[in-house]
């Protein structure tokens, strides 16, 4: 097939040069992605320009905020930022917002909700600044090659299509053709060439280890036995575990069951680690749908394995995407900072009301999967994980099916089908209030110290429903 002649994208060499061509003051709604995690240089590089130019009324749309994104803090303190819309927030920016709020508000979306909002025109982005590890002169890009490689670029794909102006920021511009690019050059307006887009050490989180902690091991064992007794580990099943150390231990235990019983899974989705890659290469799972790589082995596998597929956040979790992956997801294993008597889960704030995270894909996968299992120690540093009411609702209880702890399991009473299947089990299953009482017997009941006076933000579900408010501490 004859290829259409393709245009080279204009290459610029500094952020100052970009804003000689476009007016910075007319472009105050700006987005970033977090695939370079705590090693990202691009966000601070761009926002320092907004700081120097004293641009006010900025609305930020980063897919997540990590501790190193300190230029955001400077802009907030200078009253230059209005709203921040993100999926996850951690570190100094989170602490400052918890204590002070914003001029506007903090809107915590989910990964699927963010994709949907951008595609449906609810999040209007003037400029998407897209850190891109490997870019060719046509503006095609992938994340799994280059000196600052990060793996899948899933979270920025909607931005790369729907922002009014799209700028790829790269330290690796090549002439070669890219087969199956994640970012398509015809959408791109500028390529901004810089020395380095990130610090390799910060890009790969390096925290993806399987727990050896006996409590974690017990939780994982309970979980894999539960899944097996429910008959969910069977040929063609699909599974998502994330990269938490207990969740990865569940993955390992599920793997042992699969090998023993000669079972093959259809796909794993979400954030991918070396453990998932191992299972792909050992033929235990057919495909990996990867929205985010957690380690170097995952990044390299994306380049090496045809069945390890980078997907956009929209394909991953947008409920209005007809090809949404997680609607076919059987099992998701998720964590919790808190869970309450109605099974609502908090991963947005800690029990001291500090912002420490956010949904990411928590609510997306819990809502869409057939079964959602929360794994957590019953007590964490004297704080029982079960509360009467969570500090912040990240994921609604109606979407949470099971809580597995080291001392017992609680099943959401809405899931009568699961309760029926487990009626002869030897697993310790309790009503959630009884499980809470077991914790209180060790800890006593914590004093409720949560302030609910001043609203600083909201939690927006993938349905666009505001499911909770975030309060100033």
């Amino acid at each position: 097939m004859k290829q259409h002649s393709r245009q080279n994208i204009k290459v610029i060499n500094s952020i100052d040069e970009l804003f000689t061509m476009i007016d910075i003051s007319e472009n105050r709604n700006i987005s970033f992605h977090h695939h370079l995690r705590n090693g990202d240089y691009v966000l601070n590089y761009v926002l320092d320009k907004y700081k120097r130019e004293n641009i006010n009324n900025i609305n930020l749309f980063p897919s997540a905020i990590f501790p190193s994104y300190t230029s955001i803090l400077d802009l907030i303190k200078n009253n230059q930022i209005n709203n921040i819309t993100t999926n996850y927030i951690n570190g100094p920016v989170a602490e400052y917002i918890t204590m002070n709020g914003l001029l506007g508000k903090l809107i915590m979306q989910t990964h699927g909700g963010r994709a949907r909002s951008i595609i449906e025109g609810r999040n209007i982005i003037d400029i998407a600044f897209i850190a891109a590890p490997y870019v060719n002169t046509f503006g095609d890009a992938v994340g799994y090659l280059g000196k600052s490689k990060c793996g899948s670029l899933g979270y920025c794909i909607p931005d790369s299509i729907h922002a009014k102006i799209k700028v790829l920021v790269t330290d690796n511009l090549v002439d070669e053709k890219i087969i199956n690019p994640e970012i398509i050059g015809k959408n791109i307006d500028y390529i901004l060439l810089v020395d380095k887009i990130g610090d390799t050490k910060g890009i790969v989180s390096g925290t993806t280890e399987i727990t050896k902690n006996p409590i974690g091991v017990k939780i994982a064992k309970n979980t894999s036995v539960l899944l097996n007794e429910l008959g969910l580990i069977k040929n063609g099943f699909s599974f998502q575990s994330g990269a938490g150390s207990v969740s990865l231990r569940v993955t390992k235990d599920v793997k042992d069951i699969m090998i023993k019983e000669n079972i093959k899974a259809s796909f794993f989705s979400g954030g991918i680690t070396k453990y998932h890659v191992e299972m792909l290469e050992e033929g235990l799972v057919e495909r990996l749908y990867d929205v985010q790589c957690f380690d170097l082995e995952a990044i390299e596998s994306l380049n090496r394995n045809a069945n390890h597929i980078a997907i956009s956040s929209s394909r991953y979790a947008n409920p209005n995407n007809v090809n949404q992956i997680i609607k076919d997801l059987d099992i998701v294993i998720l964590g919790a900072t808190e869970i309450d008597y109605n099974f609502n889960v908090n991963v947005t704030t800690d029990s001291h009301q500090m912002l420490i995270g956010g949904s990411g894909g928590h609510s997306d996968t819990a809502s869409e999967s057939k079964i959602c299992v929360i794994v957590s120690p019953l007590i964490k540093g004297r704080i029982p994980v079960i509360k009467e009411v969570v500090t912040t609702k990240t994921t609604l209880g109606k979407n949470i099916d099971c809580l597995v702890t080291e001392r017992g399991i609680a099943i959401n009473p809405l899931r009568v089908d699961l309760i029926e299947k487990l009626k002869d089990t030897k697993l310790k299953i309790y009503p959630i209030k009884e499980l809470a009482q077991i914790a209180y017997n060790f800890t006593n009941i914590p004093k409720d110290t949560i302030k609910r006076d001043i609203i600083i933000g909201e939690v927006e579900d993938l349905t666009y429903e505001i499911i909770d408010h975030i309060y100033k501490k």
């Binding site: 007590i379 004297r382 704080i383 006593n444 004093k447």
Partner: protein
């Protein structure tokens, strides 16, 4: 004389005791808002059981349960040996 017991690991506490001419207790805890009063009560009760009325107790708590706090304090007291108030 100063003795201590425990650690700063999560779910443990470090208790340091030293001479004083009165009873003085300081608590730093990651769960102070939720359990500060409870920690104070456990320390006071344990001292009472040992008939100690003059001591400086510093508790650096990382979310220890009551029996951990009590055993750390008792160990610190035993490490003072015969040199009791």
């Amino acid at each position: 004389m100063k003795t201590s017991a425990g650690s700063l690991e999560s779910s443990d506490c470090l208790i340091t005791i030293s001479d004083s001419n009165k009873l003085e207790i300081t608590i730093e805890s990651v769960v102070f808002d939720q359990f500060g009063d409870q920690i104070q009560a456990v320390i006071e009760e344990t001292l009472k059981e040992h008939n100690i009325t003059k001591l400086f107790v510093q508790c650096f708590d990382k979310g220890a349960l009551d029996y951990t706090i009590k055993s750390r304090l008792e160990t610190a007291i035993k490490r003072r040996g015969e040199n009791l108030e």
